[in-house]
Amino acid sequence: MKEELLKRVVKGPDGVEFEVEPLRDYYCEAPPAVHPPVYAKIVEDLFNWARSQSIWILGFGTGCGAIEMRPLMTPRFDAYRYGIQWRPTPRQANLLVISGYLSVKTLKRAIRAYEQMQNPKYVVGLGSCTINGGMYWDSYNTIKRLDDYLPVDLYITGCMPRPEALLAGFEDLKKLIRAGKAEGANQYAENFDWYKTNQKRVIHDWDMPDYNW
């Protein structure tokens, strides 16, 4: 545990001393909730269609695959015409692209970013490394199966996959969303303990609340 997260005794302006427990006082402790589709099917279909046509990707590159994401914004590929945009904050993003190998250290940040996104949210694993470790299969600090830690909706294979492959992958993701099959967020909430156990097994210095709201 990092020092700033330890319990500490502070003195208020009135001279009374009391204890501050950062993890309890500064962070929300609630577990994630399952948000099942609640509206009539036609409404949910409309929403799913909208979700599929408005995919906001979190601007967060984890590995070398991040370099393949940038061309999507350029005139050559122009992903905007498919309703795909980048957002700089996880609060507004729907899609987390794990772009390549994921070291344990980065995994921690990826988990935070994912948990701070709002339901429904999607994860796409990009490249072989996210599938089975790829060329980092024997590395001491790189995870090999992304779906142990985050609910992945779609993998795009390749080392590296070209932007065309990404576009094709996004189209597949859209189909999944429209079909109502992209319920990763709920899956994550339902199997929260399992995911946490997996995450904590590789992240040895767990210095954050269990769920990062």
Partner: protein
């Protein structure tokens, strides 16, 4: 380079010069003489730039080799100083006063090889790894594969091919 070596040798008990290129050479220095040699090189010989500081694990010899790579910008020559350390309880004098950037390299070496540099700033803070709980991963007695197998789940069905044979088979299925 030779001249330099001759000059230096009159001052310090250096080993033999290994010349890789006309502008790149390595020489071994006893650990105790490293610091004066570095200072001499920096202040008298114009080797003002510490390019890198790295280590090699000679497991079989029971030694770590530290390499201090220095560059003389004007003469466009690079000289590497090698220092051999015993592997057991490895420690080396810190040179962060000579080059402040060395502190960062020394942090890395402590984390990855477990070589101690007493007095180096922020030496014991985590550098690249977070929450590492095994022996330093760059030591050769650390079994990376075993560690990876134990720590990270494998996906069943993964195949591994040697690129040379695999590509040969693919390109020339007949086996020409």
């Amino acid at each position: 380079m030779r001249e330099l070596h001759t000059r230096l040798k009159q001052l310090f008990p250096l080993g033999e010069l290994t010349e890789q290129r006309p502008d790149l050479a390595f020489v071994t220095v006893p650990a105790a003489f490293l610091r004066p040699t570095l200072l001499h090189l920096r202040d008298r010989e114009g080797f003002t730039h510490l390019v890198l500081l790295t280590a090699v694990d000679w497991l079989e010899e029971g030694q770590f080799q530290l390499t201090y790579l220095l560059t003389n910008r004007h003469a466009a020559t690079t000289l590497g100083l090698r220092v051999m350390l015993p592997r057991e309880d490895a420690r080396m004098e810190s040179i962060h006063e000579v080059w402040p950037t060395a502190a960062t390299y020394q942090r890395e070496l402590r984390e990855m090889f477990g070589i101690d540099f007493p007095g180096s700033p922020r030496l014991h803070e985590e550098f690249i790894l977070e929450g590492w709980n095994d022996i330093p991963p760059y030591r050769r007695d650390f079994d990376t594969l075993k560690y990876a197998r134990e720590s990270y789940n494998e996906r069943p069905g993964r195949e591994t091919h040697d690129p040379a044979t695999h590509m040969k088979q693919k390109l020339y299925p007949g086996g020409a």
